[in-house]
Symmetry: C2
DNA sequence: AAGTTTGTTGACGATGTAGTCAGTAGCGAC
DNA sequence: GTCGCTACTGACTACATCGTCAACAAACTT
């Protein structure tokens, strides 16, 4: 994680505090990806961040709280890599390619964040009940894709068609990564498959829109 | 879970034992999908199965062991729904459709197994190190797809092309479900998206094979 | 420099959990 | 019936984990 120094947080004390907070976030990201979210103890995080245990509770309510924060951050990072919302209308093909490309650089540059993102996605998908408030970053993520394809859609489309295509794009981007890694493909193979998925998606969506 | 009574397990005693084992498997499946694999205690499982805690350890080594058993079972179930290995050579389109269809009925009829399968897939993908021996069912799953597309491939194809297409198919089948559920689409919407993914995949793979 | 506020600490009580094991119940053989 | 065997039980030990809190430290204020 590498935020800029935040906007003038007053003095040294509060600067130190945000540094501690950041260390906790970094440590949590690492531990979550190593031992799994539920499989890790708060003390694993504070140990790795080299702070006292009590400090954790000054910055976060509990494990779910810090997980939420990390997933929000991950979603932000991924969304920032997409073309700007107000970007000029380009061909549908190019827009799809841009969006997949955003996932690709996210995966290559911040695979730690992406892996947590995928972990969270599955957690929310399979047992939303026990994870209050965790669906928000994913809804934001799909929403971001939706608005970004809106301006490039060949036809106006039905109300929920945009959402459908956005979901499909997300699946085309996230699916190959999860599947590829689950059978221990190399990162390189995963990336190749992702490009394949892009082509596949493109062809498929065109077909959908023709009807 | 609903196995047939197993092949003649001798007398009533051992029949009672496999019934207990089955109750544990059923309970574990339920609990895993409710509280998450790592978030649940052995006693949650035995409690739900209404057996003593010690009984668990008579049938399974530990939590990872029963999880492995369940994932193996899930993979078997999914594979059984695919067309038989020795099935007649049909068109590539139809074969892809058959395979996606297998996922679809698996999802509609045994969503509990499929959700655990997806959970396991993500666990293995994001942190293989801490989960020894858990990748096997997923390798088996991809292998099953591979052999089933082999006979219908338009061209012989390169050695790892089959694997690539198999991964892509798996992604096209699993991705939309995970993404769909993560933004709390209805089961119906998820199924619709899955069909979209099938079309998309078909178009994309054809394009791949043309080159 | 003295006093106040803010951030950090780790020991602590309470609770949870894994895995064991001596004991019990049910079954099958004779 | 009774003996041996297998399946089952749940109290128990040993340890892990949570979240708190009184004490401490650093940074600000006057």
């Amino acid at each position: 994680m590498d935020d800029e120094p935040d906007q003038r947080p007053e003095g040294r004390a509060s600067r130190r505090a945000s540094k501690t907070r950041q260390r906790l976030l970094d440590a949590a990201l690492y531990i979550f990806n190593t031992k799994g979210v539920e499989g890790c103890a708060i003390e694993d995080i504070t140990e790795s961040a080299d702070v006292g245990k009590g400090t954790f509770y000054r910055h976060f309510m509990d494990k779910l709280d810090i997980l939420r924060t990390l997933l929000d951050f991950a979603a932000d990072d991924l969304i920032k890599r997409m073309p700007p919302e107000s970007s000029p209308a380009i061909s549908f093909d190019d827009r799809i390619t841009q969006l997949i490309q955003a996932h690709l650089t996210f995966f290559t540059e911040r695979s730690d964040l992406f892996l947590l993102f995928l972990q969270g996605q599955t957690m929310v998908a399979t047992r939303p009940a026990s994870l209050p408030g965790l669906h928000a970053p994913f809804a934001r993520y799909i929403g971001a894709i939706e608005t970004r394809i809106a301006t490039s859609l060949p036809a106006p489309g039905l109300p929920d068609q945009k959402r459908q295509i956005a979901s499909l794009l997300a699946a085309a981007a996230c699916g190959p990564i999860t599947v590829g890694l689950s059978i221990s493909s190399s990162k390189h193979d995963v990336i190749k498959n992702l490009d394949l998925a892009r082509q596949s998606l493109l062809a498929g969506v065109k077909q959908l829109l023709l009807k």
